[in-house]
Each structure stands twice: as structure tokens, then as C-alpha cells.
Amino acid sequence: MVRLRGFVLAGIAFVACSEPDDGEIASALDPVAVLARASLDLRGVRPTAKELAAIEADPTRLDSMIADFADDPRFGDRIKEMFAGAWRTRVDDYPLPEGAYDEATAAQIMAAIGEEPLDLIAHIATEDLPYTHLVHSPDTFVDPVLLELWPLEAVTDDGTAVPPGTVRARYLDGRPQAGVLTYNAVFWRHSSTVENANRGRTNAMSQALLCQSYLDRPIDFPSNLDLTDSESIRNAIATNPACQGCHSTMDPFASYFWGFMYGEPDAPQGTYAVELERSWQVYTGTAPAFFGVPGQRMADLADHIAGDERFIGCAVRLVYEGMLGRDATIEDEGALAVHREAFLDGELTLRSLVRSVLRDPSYRGVKATPRFGGSPEPVVRKVSPVDVMARSIATLSGYALATGGRPTTRLDAGLRTIAGGSDRGDATNVSTGAILVQRRLAEAGAIHAVDAALAGTDGGGTLAPWLAENDLQVAPEPDALVELARIARSQILTPDDDEILALATMWTEVATISTTRDAWIAVVTTALADPDHLIY
């Protein structure tokens, strides 16, 4: 049996306290657990052996070390993932002209489209730009393959870095320059018909930018309301109080988007139609406005959104929920207010926001009352997003499961849905499918890493040096298994720990019924399939 370690048992005890004003941050997790959690959340990988050793030697370094994780080059990718569920652009397929591209190019294009709004967010995060740049950026950051598909021109860098795999580019078709509000990917993903008059798109924008969905409000249609034809529907929308509750703000918001109306909703165009911008005059008669503030073009909308308090609050909520691995509730409002304040103090840089959440007692498993009130649920364990689990295992093993050049765990037609993910984001609960997926990723990684080591080649993962140090023809020494737990799971065990003894026994059992190769694969598989990778 596996023996439980005392320090972990002690470490998970709930601590009820008030949030400290300054200085020491309350934590119910041991420093190594916080280090691993923050590393996975901000870099998508586990801490290195060197970082673990540093924390063991001096736990007081924890706060500065995890704050520095936000400076890691991989931070941009993780920020993208925190916002991906809001924008919903990571879908398997986008409609491309039939026969225009070979399979590999089409796959690359479809993956690239999904990243467009997210790469701007990564750029904002890694360059410490204010979050308002999301609706003010004149540029987009795209996979170069999109330069051929859309009316884009690569532009000279301004000295700031661009997200990996992208180029800075600008649309040439006369569209307003308003960041994500004018990105093709957003409108290709959220299509509209003339009849719908961009309302669905407006709701998608409202959800992504303001964290408010009109659809959260159930509609109880009055049974005496005549909605039997288009004209009566238009009348009801304009005059009926129940309809006006949403449409009075939704329809003017939607009037900004007519330049993206396509002749065929299922065949989106790359080119923005400046001449259609005022089509609202024909189809709805509703002039553009943002919650009562009138405007003309998308640049006005961008200014109004950037000045809306909900826009800032929404960014705070998305990052908070992304890092805590659960939805925010009414009990989290006080904590959200604390982080909003930090976000504003940090000039709306995402790093300032992330670092504020890192200091949140809930993030460290502590039940505490924020100074603005509330009783947030502490996060003792959270469920790994699919991407984080897959990346962490791939980084360790050097093997990433891919289909048509795209990560299989990012495709609904692959393993994403099975593992609990979707374009809406990731499940926050453990699922049977996620366990299956983890197991297969673990097996694949273990086979790749061990076989590479047996062949004397570099498997490419962070486990490779450890495998190279071991004689794979014989049983691993307990110290080697301790080191494996350290590298693969950020767990500090001792050679006489029951878990290590059980692992050694397992190696022997497999070697007896199979081969030493299979025994090493089994050992590495257990390390990669461990619950520590799925809940942390």
C-alpha cells in the first residue's frame, strides 16, 4: 500500500482566516504544491528539478519564483488558453473554398484562424500592453498561412515581440482598426444571417468582452403576443417591454457589424464590406450604439467597450476562473474586486492581474474572507485543462499526439471532447474520458521516451536525461524512482516511501511477466498517468 506523507496531510487542512493585508500569504498547500500549480498554470509545464531544489532549500523564495513564471515565454500560450473558451474560435473546421487547399494546408489554415484573437491576447500579455489594446490594436498576429487567405499584409515590427509562429499583419480592405472587433476569425466563427441581423454575433461579443450573455435570461414569450410573421416580430422587438429588455441594447450593438455580413452565412468572405456598414438602415432601422451611447463606426464601439467597467471586470473574471479552475460565484465577488483593483493599479497588464491571483488565498487552498467580503471556495485540487495535461505530458516525454499536424487533444474529432474540453473551454470536473485520454497520452509518452533511450537517442523530453542515466536492462534503484517522482510529478518522496517501494515491486512484476523494456515503460507510464497530472 501507498503510505501517505505527513506533510501533505498537514498541508491540506483548511485554514480559515482573513486575507492578510501584506507580506506573508496564507497557504494550505505546501510550497512545492503551489510551485507546481503555478508552473502548470502559467507555463503549462511542471517545475524543473532545479526549481524544486530551490524551494526545498528556501521556501521563502516561493512568491518571487512563481511571480517570475509570468515572464516565461510560455506564459502567452497559457493566457491564450484562459481566454479561448470566451472567444470560442478553436473549432475543428472553418469553411474554406472547396478544393482550394490540400489537406495539410487546410488543417494549418483552420488551426490558424482559431488562434487569431487569442494571439492578440498573448501579445498584450507578454508585452505588458494595457488590456484595452484588445479593441484598439491596429494589427493582428497571424500564422503566415493566413496572409494568402485574407487581405492581410505583413507589417514591420515595432520592436515588440510577436507570439511564436505568427507575424504582425494589418488588414488592407479599409476595415476600421479596432483589434478583435475587426478580426475575420471572430466573424467567421460567429456567423449571422440578414434575418438575425448580427444579434448572435453581438451576444458572442458580449460574452467574450463583457462576460454577459443575453441568453442567460430565459424568455417567457407572452402567449397573447402575435409573433406570427416578420413584421409582427419587428414590432414586438421595438415595442414590447419583455422583448425590449434585451433588444433595446442588443440591436444597436449589433448594428456595428454589418460590414461583416456575408452573402452566404456558411461561405464567409475574407474581405470586409465597407459599403455594407450602414445596412442597418435597410434591415433594422436601428442606429449603432453601445448601451445607449451612440456611435458611427467600429472605432467608436472600441472606445465605448474599452471604457466600460464590465470589460475590465470580465478580464478579471476569466483569468480568475482560469487559474482557480472553477466558475466564480457570488461568494467570489469580493476576491474579484481585489484583483480588479490590482489590475487597475498594474495599468491593465495581464501580468499584474495574474500575479494578484497568485497571491489569492483561494488559489493556495485557504478559506479566507477577502477585504471586500465574500467567502470564496478554496481550491484544494483543480482539474487540469486538456491542453495543460497534454502539454505537460508531452514536455516530459518528448512525444505529442498529433493528427494532421494538429494536437489531437485540441480537436473535437480527436480527443478534446472525450477529455472534457470544447470550444467553450474545459470541464472543471473529472471525467471518465479524461482518464482514458490521460492514460493513452501516458502510454504513448512512455513508449516513445523509453524506446528512444534504449536506442541511445534523445527522446526530446525532460525525462530523457533521467532515462539516459539509468541502465534500462536492470531494475531501477529506489533513488531513481524518487527522482522520477520529482521530475514527472513534482513530488518529493524518499527511497523508503511506500509508494517508491510499490513502484519497484511493480517493475519487478512486469519484468517477470514481460520484458525489462516493458517494465520501464510501465514505470514511466505510471508517472505520466498519475492523478497528479489530472488534478493538481
Binding site: T329, A402, T403, V430, E443, D518, A522
Partner: protein, 411 residues
């Protein structure tokens, strides 16, 4: 009792709480009535083509050649271009409970789906299939198998498996062979040893974190995933290319007792904004498929003897209907009162429940089972209460006290 999100957190833990703390892996009742096969006509079908013979309503457009038709207790719409649809009802009207005027409270596909499947607008509440599956988790390794179509697992993710994507390849391991950089498969016997080690780890985790729902869920899910892998030789859980293939997968899983509920979607094809005549072809294909599905249920053995049709209820939904008037392109847009069907044991068929007003809004069912104009349609909660009752689940565990089964529908 209304389950709040907080009480939902941690499905295995909730299972223990609701069912008296029985052993996690086998929690749940084993003597529940019935299995459920949910069929979703995604995109919003047009009841005015088949289910809603509103020929006397001046503001409602019906098709030029459509005609009222009554077969048994069902008043329907007939059309010369839809002989298969007519044939289906000629053969099965006695089994069909037709629900008209079901309110899904929105004109947005996703919201309507959530309402139709859960009774509310929050995705925190699990759908009917998941609740019913969860109640039967003691006997099914994958209580709710979603072959395709919508699902709202809420906090019960452990008990829902999606066959879309490469589930079967994940189960049998062949995904290691079929990817950009193929590998060999791991040997079976060592995999068993790994299984045992991970079970120990899961047990240790639960011991270490007794109050942490994710830990309990992990152990439960690990056990279920192993059961799936163990059964791989008997099953092919694939989301097939067409509806019939997917339905066959669902029926196969029901037959094997892998799941208590299965869900299958038709693909998102019913959203006929631009040419409503397309509904004819869709209904014809759909009822041919449904005929085939019912025939399979009558010939496929159930896991406890007999055939699946003995204890499997087919629930046919479409998240919304279409506007009563044709739009400028000959299509119909979204409408919040729709029709659904229930077919199978335990229900009173050959009847229409609920109805539509002359403005095409819903009319509900009064306590006597008759139409009650004061009730604005059949609520999705009422639909849910009916299904849960049919499946031996107390609706009050999940729904408001006001949610009652549709009067007269349960046998």
C-alpha cells in the same frame, strides 16, 4: 430538494450523499426501470409539416398541399411528398405520445437545447439522460453514452462519455497506431499491473483528501475507464458517419448494458432559414431512420433478457420549432414552442399532449390531461419530471416542486 451547484460539486461525492454512501464504484440502484434512447433533431424542425395541423389559424402558413390527417388518436399534417412519414404513423401511432407546444424559452439553438434537456438555462444542471444514467450508474460503466448530439453533463462528467471523436480508439488503444507518429501498442499484461498501481494511487488520494470531490471523482472515473477498456472486444463505440450508424452504436451499447441512456443527434440539418421545403426530405429520412431504430429495438436483446424494446423509451426532441410564417426566402426562422415524441413502454401512446394556439404559442396540459389554455405550453421541467418519474428518479431531487409529470402520459 433543489440541487444547487454547491451540492452538485463532485459527482461521486453527491452519489454517496444521495444514495447513502454506498461503495463509490457501484453506487446507485440496480433495479431501476427502463433504458432511454434520446434522439435529437438538431437545428429546429418544423412541427407545421407533421405535428401541428393548424389549418384554421389565419396567421399560420402551412404548405400548399398539406392536409389534416388523423390516425388513431393523433391529429397530424399529411403531405403527398411525405409518404414515409405517413407510413411511420400508420404503423406506430399507437406507441407514440406526441407532445405539442413544448416551451424551450428562447430562439437561440444552444439555449433552447439546454432548456429542452435540463429544464433550465444553466449548464450546471445535468440533462435528463445524464440524471437517468447517473441513477443507474451501479449497473452501467458508461451511464450516459453520447454518441452524437448535445449533452449537458453538469457536474456528472464522470458518468457521461462522448463517442464523438476517437473514443473507440482511446478505448482500444489504437490511437497510438493511428496518428502522425505511430507507436507500438503497450503490452496487455503489463497494462494490468499499471492499472493496479493507479488504483492504489487513487485510493491513497481519496484517503489523503477525503473531503475533496475531485479525488473521489478520480477514483470513480478510473474504475469506469478500466471497465470500458475491459469491454473493448465486445463494443465498437464510434460516432458513425450517418444517423443509422450512430443509432446502431447506441443500441449496441444499450444492449450490452454499458449504458442506461444513449443520445444520438441527427446532425445540425434542420435549421431551414432559407428554404423550408427542405424539411420534407429531412422528415422523410428521419422517419425512415426512426422506423429502422424501432425495428432494431424489437430485435436486439436487452442486457437482462427479452429485447430492448421491452424496457427502452425513445425520446425524440428538437430544441425549437420554426416561425409560423414563411420569411422572404421561403424559409422559417426560430420559434420557441416545439413538438417532441416519446415512444416505448410505460407511456400512454396514441395521444397528443399539449397543443398550439392560433398564434402558435403553446397550450399546456391541465390536471385532467386535457388542454389548459391558461398554461403556456408544456414546460421542459414537466417533460423532465415525466422522464425522471419514468426512470424511477424522484423529480424533486432535481427540479422545482412545481415540476410535475405531464398528466395522463405515464401508464
Amino acid at each position: 430538494m433543489m440541487l444547487t451547484r454547491r451540492t452538485f460539486l463532485g459527482s461521486a461525492a453527491v452519489g454517496a450523499a444521495l444514495f447513502g454512501g454506498v461503495r463509490m464504484g457501484m453506487a446507485g440502484k440496480s433495479d431501476l426501470r427502463g433504458r432511454f434512447l434520446f434522439v435529437h433533431a438538431e437545428g429546429g424542425w418544423d412541427p407545421l409539416c407533421v405535428f401541428a395541423p393548424l389549418f384554421d389559424a389565419p396567421n399560420i402558413d402551412l404548405e400548399p398541399e398539406a392536409a389534416p390527417w388523423t390516425i388513431g388518436g393523433l391529429a397530424l399534417v399529411d403531405h403527398p411528398a411525405r409518404p414515409t412519414t405517413r407510413g411511420f404513423f400508420e404503423r406506430h401511432h399507437a406507441e407514440v405520445a406526441l407532445l405539442n407546444g413544448v416551451s424551450t424559452r428562447s430562439v437561440n439553438h444552444e439555449t433552447c437545447q439546454v432548456v429542452a434537456l435540463t429544464g433550465g438555462t444553466s449548464v450546471d444542471r445535468p440533462d435528463w439522460g445524464t440524471v437517468l444514467g447517473y441513477a443507474g450508474r451501479g449497473t452501467a460503466s458508461l451511464p450516459h453514452l453520447v454518441v452524437s448530439g448535445p449533452v449537458v453533463p453538469g457536474p456528472y462528467s464522470v458518468f457521461v462519455a462522448q463517442a464523438r471523436g476517437r473514443l473507440q480508439q482511446a478505448i482500444d488503444g489504437s490511437i497510438l497506431l493511428d496518428n502522425d507518429a505511430p507507436l507500438t501498442l503497450p503490452a496487455a499484461a503489463p497494462a494490468r499491473v499499471v492499472d493496479r498501481f493507479l488504483e492504489q494511487r487513487a485510493t491513497a488520494l481519496v484517503g489523503m483528501l477525503p473531503n475533496e470531490p475531485h479525488a473521489a471523482d478520480y477514483r470513480e472515473a478510473l474504475s469506469r475507464s478500466r471497465a470500458l477498456v475491459d469491454g473493448r472486444l465486445e463494443q465498437q463505440l464510434v460516432s458513425g458517419e450517418d444517423f443509422r450508424g450512430r443509432a446502431a452504436t447506441a443500441i449496441s451499447a444499450l444492449s450490452a448494458g454499458i449504458c442506461r441512456c444513449a443520445s444520438v443527434g441527427t446532425d445540425f440539418v434542420w435549421d431551414t432559414h432559407e428554404d423550408n421545403r427542405l424539411q420534407t426530405g429531412l422528415f422523410e429520412a428521419f422517419f425512415a431512420d426512426l422506423e429502422e431504430l424501432l425495428a432494431r429495438l424489437h430485435t436486439t436483446p436487452g442486457p437482462n433478457g427479452g429485447v430492448l424494446a421491452d424496457d427502452t423509451v425513445v425520446v425524440v426532441t428538437s430544441e425549437m420549432a420554426r416561425t409560423p410564417a414563411f420569411n422572404g426566402t421561403g424559409g422559417r426562422d426560430h420559434w420557441p414552442y416545439t413538438s417532441m415524441m416519446m415512444i416505448g413502454p410505460g407511456i400512454v401512446g396514441d395521444r397528443v399532449y399539449g397543443g398550439f394556439s392560433s398564434l402558435y404559442t403553446g397550450i399546456g396540459v391541465g390536471p385532467s390531461g386535457a388542454l389548459e389554455p391558461a398554461i403556456p405550453g408544456i414546460s421542459a421541467e414537466s417533460l423532465g419530471a415525466t422522464l425522471l418519474t419514468l426512470g424511477d428518479v424522484d423529480p424533486q431531487e432535481y427540479l422545482s416542486d412545481a415540476a410535475q409529470p405531464i398528466p395522463g402520459l405515464l401508464a
